[in-house]
Amino acid sequence: MAWGSIRTLVRLAEIAMQIKVDPSVIRQTRWNEYGIRFLFGGLITAVAGIIAKDFGPGIGGLFLAFPAIFPASATLIEKHETQKKEEKGLRGTRRGREAASVDAAGSAMGSVGLLVFALIVWQFAPSYSTSIVLMGATVAWLTVSVLIWYVRKRV
């Protein structure tokens, strides 16, 4: 068991070492770009509630996994990566497109985690405390997503 725990820790350290935080992106992003994502995020959350009220939770629930801010985020990634290349005097259009494509591939992997999140809430929400179920489901989303990303990267 101890050996298993050590191996898990080593794997987690390997994953952590591959991930970098780049705070310069915060300065590159304009306030209106943050505003657009807030607006779309807020709108889809409100609309999901309205749809559930009017058409029932069966239809409303579909929109809990709606790609609300995906167009805004993909455009932002494309723009930032293109700008980075152009600052070095290179044409960045292709690089920008590829970065947005890779980000979307990551989201496809993350959607398996999203499915696990939904499965856990569906199964456990009626019997356990809300905060515990939502916390557990979020941890499961992150764990499954990161594991799939890690396995995909190694294959």
Binding site: A48, G58, L62, A65, V102, A104, M109, G110, L119
Partner: protein, 113 residues
């Protein structure tokens, strides 16, 4: 009306928070995981359980499974198209939204209705 406003504000904040985390991270394939974060669900399910009850939220979550499968189809399609064709991200993502709608409602009709 108040509840819609609360949903809007909480949803905007949670979705933005996950989007900023995604912006900060590298490599991009890892950051992309946060594009599929359960942000709308987290913003809305707590409130739904408090107002409508746990079984209502469970029904929503069951449908969310179909939404997540549709999300996978949507993101895979966007990634594939952007890697192969010289098209702007905004157009590709907007044009792929009918795919999400088709898969989500198709699964709902076949499996959940």
């Amino acid at each position: 009306m108040n509840q819609i406003l609360i949903r809007f504000l909480v949803g905007g904040a949670v979705v933005s928070a996950f989007a900023i985390i995604g912006d900060l991270l590298k490599p991009k394939s890892f950051a992309g995981l946060f594009g599929a974060a359960p942000s709308v669900a987290l913003a809305t399910l707590g409130l739904t359980i408090a107002t409508e009850g746990a079984s209502y939220a469970a029904t929503e979550s069951r449908s969310m499974i179909a939404g997540a499968i549709a999300f996978m189809a949507f993101a895979t399609c966007v990634s594939w198209v952007m890697m192969r064709f010289e098209l702007k991200a905004l157009w590709v993502t907007i044009c792929a939204i009918p795919l999400w709608l088709g898969v989500a409602f198709g699964l709902w009709y076949v499996w959940l209705k």
